[in-house]
């Protein structure tokens, strides 16, 4: 029975990154009311300091194992995604600070909602409890809905918010339905109790059955629950068949918000998905029955991965807007990351974590480029980039590096990541054949080469008499840094690999 003395400060100290972020968000909201500055950089600085403090706490807590309040689990796997989220949210705040058009809007609320979404992702990736997972997912989603519609006057932005809300509501309903079915057959909301790793539910009461027992007694219900829950995750990571919202929402949202959705929010979805399927099916001590079932789940994930990358890449071929093209490219990349998860073993999960880390550098860079050019020219079409290459080399050369890395050409970090995913697909869990998925991954990289290189061609090989764009030093510095890291981690990838490997304490 739960007693009051269990609520010790020890649990609170484990939650210090979350508490830091909540405090930061509240301070931003209050200072906005006190300062009343429309164009305040000070608020952004507060947000960055808070995120930095949270990131420092996460780094210093690396290797700590523990459970706070029986709900939040402190481990390296969650730490990886929390660090990722804070870093990505920090970059989004910098983007808002650099973009004059963004600062017109209610800046305090802007930062507050970004930070709230980050808190939601923190809860989502750091818990074994499905209740808290749904709560975090909803917090992240609800904050993102309002952010997508932040350019109130623009029709596209309003449309993006509307589509996002409708799709998000539907998929959240689907997911909660799946979770309720899973609860009905197992009697617990804790993934570790379902997998049999824990005998007693830390928060629930009554008799819980493990997934192995549930599979024996009601296989149909478990299958249905898994598919429905996968549907909910699919929405968050924008994989097929729940990816239809992504291009429209990404295109209509303000660019910093698009960046957040494509990088932080997507990684958060992957964190929750990998924890769910990892703990239930991949952990070493799952029973024979569950291990057999694992391969079926792996096959479903592999099909989803193949469909996602193919649909994303084929649609990206036809785009004339750079923003929409990057949106489809982000859909395709969700498919790539899923390849590692579909392998259903530790090596696969490691490859997925590595690829997400690589995705961070190259995608943030690409979106920074988009932000700069749409700020300078006011347009987002490929046409408007014509001949810009030699005119702003500090911006366009990094972009070429990002595009090469997104395609997966050596020596960039995108290549190293894709190589690991290929290995993962070649050596999946016992009894799973994913060779065809490796072929599919290779073919898709070739398709993507065409539309990524089209941007390079427009930038450097075509001419126009447009004036030289106005330089923006901080953005150029940021892009050069990201480009440097993209190349650096492509050559010396051991630190990233170690980070990904340390996240595998999930499976022990």
């Amino acid at each position: 029975m739960f007693a009051l003395q269990d609520l010790h400060l020890q649990g609170l100290s484990l939650l210090s990154p979350e508490l830091t972020l909540v405090t930061t968000a509240l301070v931003v909201l209050m200072m906005d009311l006190i300062w009343k500055e429309r164009d305040s950089w000070r608020l952004g600085a507060i947000g960055l300091v808070g995120l930095g403090a949270a990131a420092l706490q996460l780094v210093s807590a690396h290797g700590t194992q523990g459970t706070a309040f029986g709900l939040v689990s402190i481990d390296n796997f969650g730490g990886f995604f929390k660090l990722f989220t804070s870093a990505a949210t920090g970059v989004c705040i910098v983007f808002v600070m650099l973009d004059r058009r963004e600062r017109r809007h209610r800046i305090g609320e802007y930062y507050f909602l970004l930070l709230s979404a980050a808190i939601g992702i923190f809860f989502m990736v750091g818990t074994y409890n499905l209740l808290l997972l749904v709560l975090g997912l909803e917090l992240a989603s609800l904050a993102s809905y309002s952010l997508a519609g932040f350019h109130k006057g623009e029709k596209r932005s309003a449309e993006a918010a509307m589509k996002y809300v409708v799709f998000g509501g539907l998929s959240a309903g689907v997911m909660v339905f799946g979770i309720s079915l899973l609860y009905a057959v197992t009697g617990t909301l804790d993934m570790r109790v379902m997998s049999g790793a824990l005998a007693i539910d830390p928060v629930g009461e009554g008799v819980a059955r493990s997934l192995a027992v549930a599979l024996e007694q009601s296989p149909g219900m478990v299958a249905l629950a898994m598919i429905l829950i996968l549907g909910g995750f699919s929405f968050k990571i924008s994989s097929a068949p729940f990816h239809f919202w992504a291009p429209d929402v990404y295109e209509g949202s303000p660019t910093p918000v698009t960046t957040f959705l494509a990088v932080a929010s997507k990684a958060g979805g992957f964190g929750a998905l990998m924890r769910f399927f990892g703990v239930l099916f991949v952990a070493p001590d799952v029973g024979e029955m569950v291990a057999a079932y694992r391969n079926e789940i792996g096959m479903v994930l592999a099909l989803v991965a193949a469909a996602t990358m193919t649909l994303g890449n084929l649609a990206a071929l036809r785009q004339t807007s750079l923003k929409r093209m990057l949106a489809y490219s982000s859909v395709a990349h969700a498919g790539y990351v899923l390849v590692g998860v579909a392998a259903m073993n530790q090596a696969g999960m490691e490859a997925s974590l590595f690829y997400l880390a690589a995705y961070y550098f190259m995608n943030l860079g690409a979106f920074g480029f988009l932000l700069y050019f749409s700020g300078v020219t006011g347009r987002e079409t490929l046409e408007s980039l014509r001949g810009m290459g030699p005119k702003a080399p500090m911006i366009t050369v990094p972009m070429v590096i990002f595009l090469v890395s997104l395609t997966g050409i050596p020596p960039m970090v995108g290549f190293t990541g894709k190589l690991q995913l290929l290995y993962a697909a070649m050596g999946p869990a016992e009894g799973l054949q994913l060779g065809w998925l490796a072929v599919c991954l290779g073919l898709n990289s070739v398709i993507s080469l065409y539309y990524y290189m089209r941007v390079v061609r427009v930038l450097f090989l075509e001419d126009s008499d447009e004036p030289r764009p106005e330089p923006q030093v901080p953005m150029a510095v940021f892009l050069c840094l990201m480009a440097f890291l993209t190349v650096w981690f492509g050559l010396f990838f051991t630190p990233l690999l170690d980070l990904a490997r340390s996240g595998m304490d999930l499976l022990t």
Partner: protein
């Protein structure tokens, strides 16, 4: 008896939910929603959650429903001709497609339920002698093991409130000329 009541309540809530979507008149939709909420409250009651049932009626059936009615009656519903055209948008093919998807989902669910070895009857076994004491049990769960989720919900509500207010509030003394289109959109 309890089983029969359950099927009645379930049928009422599902049919009313359907009515919310298909009825042409917004006020009628809101009234249908009230019926659906009441059906769900009855299901809570049958499962032994008297407190939840009462809250469902008070909060959803009472407060939220009144707000919905206010919104529907106060806001401009738009041109009736345009509304009628909107409702005609759903073609026969689309309707058939939607029904096919919903029907197959229902079939899958029914098969899964039929092949499930869950304790039967659905209700009653949850209900200890003399009824549950749901309020105490709920409070203990909410402020005991789940206290973190409870506090997390407060962040969620705050973020939602801020988000909604940002979207709903009109921009005053706009600094940049480009915002002139926003007036038309928000009007």
């Amino acid at each position: 008896m309890v089983d029969l009541l359950f099927y009645v309540a379930a049928a009422v809530s599902v049919l009313c939910a359907l009515g919310v979507v298909v009825s042409a008149n917004p006020v009628q939709s809101v009234m249908m929603l009230l019926g659906s909420f009441t059906g769900i409250a009855l299901i809570y009651l049958l499962a032994g959650f008297q407190f939840l049932a009462a809250i469902q009626i008070l909060v959803y059936g009472g407060a939220i429903m009144v707000l919905f009615l206010f919104v529907v009656m106060l806001l401009n519903q738009g041109d009736p001709v345009a509304l009628a055209r909107e409702q005609g948008v759903l073609h026969k093919e689309q309707l058939a497609g939607g029904l096919a998807v919903a029907g197959s989902a229902l079939a899958v669910l029914l098969v899964a339920v039929a092949r499930t070895d869950l304790p039967r009857p659905i209700f009653g076994y949850l209900w200890p002698e003399g009824g549950l004491d749901p309020l105490l049990g709920m409070a203990q769960a909410m402020f005991g093991p789940y206290v973190l989720a409870f506090e997390g919900a407060s962040v969620l509500l705050l973020a939602t409130a801020v988000g909604v207010m940002t979207l709903a509030k009109r921009q005053r003394n706009k600094p940049v000329a480009a915002a002139s289109t926003s007036e038309e959109a928000s009007a």
